[in-house]
């Protein structure tokens, strides 16, 4: 039995380690994703991967929010260059037109000898929709003085703050618009990215971009992140419209009318020091997360679906008070409404300055 002082020291050490291993955040983008989209009930999480039928861009909510996460995503931020409001309107219309076209599939009419081909050709002559979703958000900076949109600013939209332990590159933070393109196949998202960037060239410019992927379940259940742990087990139930209304969708609450049916998107890039991670004991890894690595079960449970029982473990003897699952979701009445819908992707992008792998989590969530 540890005494309290020892426990505190251990906790502090754990939280430092957790912060050190997980917290080297390089990118923080904040976008309030607040554009209307689908009356069609969003297709839900248990859908099979085979489905590549067109997913309509239009509806009450944006289609990409609640859907099962496709295998591939490109999350990017654009800065709007439009000179004035009329050009801003034009670029938003272009995004809508292209999103409609890309999600429906097919290619534009031929340009003949008047121009180069309008499509990059990577999807072949038929350009299938490939289950593409296009999720568009507006960032805090769009509501600055440039376009006179100050009075339309969503009530809770803020510029992403800098958190302790963040290590930020300003060129990879923030942005006027977020555009997330997701599908099961890489060529579908790349095609969409090239199309949107090309068709809006001059009116907006890519500011940063992160590619993400979801691994297949190993062996089953929630997919794993690059630390080997199942990620996003305790998400709210996307099949429960009432819960989604409470936790995800914007309605009333002092928000401008145009935001109804939208949601707030948070994007953070969480660098994982995977080499360091691989050098620490399995016990410490599991204490940092609060779950078993193999099964995903909370440390007080057997299976990934088991609910951790924090009240029964007030001192953190089984699931440390500083563990990720306890800090992220203490499961109290007070924190029930602050739950988020996690939609994290893994990212993997080359090497850092010391030759370590630059990989981690493209953390996105709706709240």
């Amino acid at each position: 039995v540890r005494n309290r002082a020892q426990a505190r020291t251990a906790d502090r050490r754990r939280i430092d380690r957790r912060a050190f291993l997980l917290g080297a955040t390089l990118v923080a983008g904040a976008g309030g994703s607040l554009v209307g989209a689908a009356t069609v009930p969003p297709a839900l999480s248990n859908q099979s991967r085979a489905s590549s039928a067109p997913i309509s861009f239009h509806g009450t909510h944006q289609a990409g929010v609640l859907r099962r996460q496709p295998r591939r995503t490109v999350m990017c931020a654009f800065d709007v260059l439009a000179a004035g409001r009329a050009e801003l309107v034009e670029v938003l219309r272009t995004i809508t037109d292209r999103a409609r076209r890309l999600t429906a599939g097919g290619i534009d009419p031929p340009a003949g000898i008047s121009a180069p081909p309008s499509d990059p050709g990577i999807l072949g002559p038929d350009a299938p929709p490939g289950g593409l979703t296009v999720t568009v958000g507006v960032g805090d900076s769009l509501f600055d003085e440039r376009y006179g949109l100050g009075d339309r600013r969503p009530a809770r939209l803020t510029r992403m703050p800098i958190f302790p332990n963040d290590r930020l590159d300003s060129g990879q933070c923030h942005g006027d618009l977020s555009v997330q393109l997701s599908a099961d196949d890489e060529d579908i998202v790349i095609n969409a990215l090239r199309d949107v960037a090309r068709q809006t060239r001059g009116a907006m410019q890519l500011r940063w971009r992160i590619d993400g992927f979801v691994s297949p379940p190993r062996p089953a259940g929630t997919p794993r992140n690059l630390m080997g742990f199942k990620d996003g087990i305790s998400n709210p139930d996307v099949r429960d419209p009432e819960e989604m209304r409470r936790l995800v969708w914007v309605a009333g609450g002092g928000e401008p009318a145009w935001t109804a049916g939208g949601t707030y998107l948070v994007v953070r890039l969480i660098r994982m020091l995977t080499e360091f991670w691989d050098r620490i004991s399995i016990a410490e890894q599991e204490q940092i997360f609060g779950r078993r690595r193999d099964s995903g079960a909370p440390l007080d449970g057997m299976r990934e679906e088991d609910q951790p029982n924090f009240p029964q473990d007030p001192t953190g003897a089984v699931i440390p008070l500083t563990s990720h699952i306890r800090l992220a979701n203490p499961r109290t009445q007070q924190t029930a409404t602050s739950r988020i819908l996690r939609r994290a992707y893994n990212y993997d992008r080359g090497l850092d300055q010391v030759g370590n792998l630059d990989m981690g989590l493209l953390f996105t969530c709706y709240q």
């Binding site: 260059l81 009419p109 031929p110 003949g112 008047s114 121009a115 410019q205 500011r207």
Partner: protein, 395 residues
């Protein structure tokens, strides 16, 4: 600079072998109300003797027609409006015996296939007509021929000659200042001369090996900036902005001056391909974006944006000579003008009151995005110029 004169040359070769012929066959005019065929896509013959045979059921809308080369030589094929000569779609390099699809959008109007078999006169197939569809076809664009490009070509040649004459005078001055050890004036003279060279972008491909010796970058050299093969403007820039003494730079300036004079004299006998004009119209700024705006080309002077502006001026010169052709062919010409002005304004804004230029590395994120985005949009609008001004054979 990418060199892409191959297809242009090929067209020249083809054009040289043919006589002046208007449409050889003015065929029957079929009047067909717009309707869809049920029997799959039609295959249309491309040959000198059976041109257009098999095209009996044209319908309105975007569609794929299959073109089969039934001759024993390579061919080009076009779907045209035979009354105006405007082209709806074309296929190049159609090998003998091969069939390829061509997507076109047809509406109310008269259409025909033009067959351009290698070494044979052009033949226009039977006319077919669509009426009552209330659909607009197109875009259809009048072809630009080699003949159309002769005046622009002459104007560009003259522009380049006078630019080279000016440049030769400037490198003389540059050499004199380096010899005199007046490196402040040498730096000013270097910029003036380099910008003159940058304004001649239309001919950079045609300059051939002169280009590498006058404006070569150290990238492909194993020793980089210390490589003995590193010569010309960038070599001199490196020395002038890295504290190299004048006696170390004298031979560099001498060689540059010599090369420029040789080129100035040689230009009258060098070839500028008609197909180059349209290609350079967009390639000059493609290079500017990739080399100047990326800061890659800078060897210390921080004048990338001045060079980008010179590239823009060079682009304007080419466009001015093509403008009479584009007026009737390019629907977005005024949009192109708008973006030329925008890019020019953004670049001019980076020239400080003392005449110095903002180095690319000192631009704010926002300024960089504005420039990159505006040049990107300009490039999207310049790209069609290359396609429209690709010289085409019509006879």
């Amino acid at each position: 600079m990418i060199s892409r004169s191959l297809s242009g040359n090929r067209r020249l070769v083809l054009a040289a072998g043919c006589l002046l012929t208007a449409s050889v066959v003015a065929g029957v005019s079929l009047s067909l109300a717009a309707r869809r065929t049920s029997a799959g896509p039609p295959t249309i013959s491309i040959s000198a003797t059976h041109c257009g045979q098999g095209w009996t059921h044209p319908h309105a809308g975007t569609q794929t027609v299959w073109l089969e080369n039934r001759s024993d030589a390579g061919a080009e094929a076009e779907v045209i409006d035979p009354r105006t000569g405007a082209i709806y779609g074309e296929i190049d390099n159609l090998g003998p015996g091969t069939t390829r699809p061509l997507r076109v959008t047809l509406g109310d109007g008269t259409f025909a296939v033009r067959c351009l078999v290698e070494d044979m006169d052009a033949v226009v197939g039977p006319w077919v007509t669509i009426t009552g569809s209330h659909t607009r076809g197109g875009p259809a664009v009048l072809p630009v021929t080699v003949d159309d490009l002769l005046t622009p070509l002459r104007e560009n040649r003259e522009y380049v000659q006078s630019g080279l004459d000016q440049l030769a005078g400037q490198t003389d001055v540059l050499l004199a200042t380096v010899r005199a050890g007046d490196l402040d004036r040498a730096r000013a003279g270097w910029l003036a001369a380099h910008l003159t060279y940058e304004r001649l972008g239309v001919a950079h491909g045609a300059f051939g090996d002169f280009g590498a010796r006058i404006d070569g970058r150290p990238d492909g050299l194993s020793e980089g900036v210390r490589d003995p093969g590193f010569t010309g403007f960038y070599r001199l820039e490196y020395g002038l902005w890295h504290g190299q003494p004048s006696d170390q730079l004298r031979h560099v300036a001498e060689r540059l001056d010599q090369e420029v004079h040789t080129l100035d004299h040689a230009w009258a006998g060098m070839e500028l391909d008609p197909g180059d004009l349209g290609l350079r119209a967009h390639e000059i700024m493609e290079d500017a974006l990739q080399d100047e705006l990326s800061d890659d080309a800078d060897e210390g002077s921080g004048t990338d944006l001045a060079a980008a502006l010179a590239s823009l001026q060079g682009t304007r010169e080419v466009l001015a000579t093509l403008r009479p052709l584009l007026l009737t062919r390019y629907a977005e010409l005024s949009e192109l003008d708008t973006w030329l002005d925008r890019v020019e304004g953004l670049l001019q804004a980076e020239r400080r009151s003392d005449g110095a230029w903002t180095p690319v590395a000192s631009l704010t994120d926002r300024q960089r995005e504005q420039l990159d985005g505006a040049i990107g949009r300009l490039l999207e609008l310049l790209a069609p110029v290359a396609i429209i001004c690709d010289p085409r054979r019509t006879a």
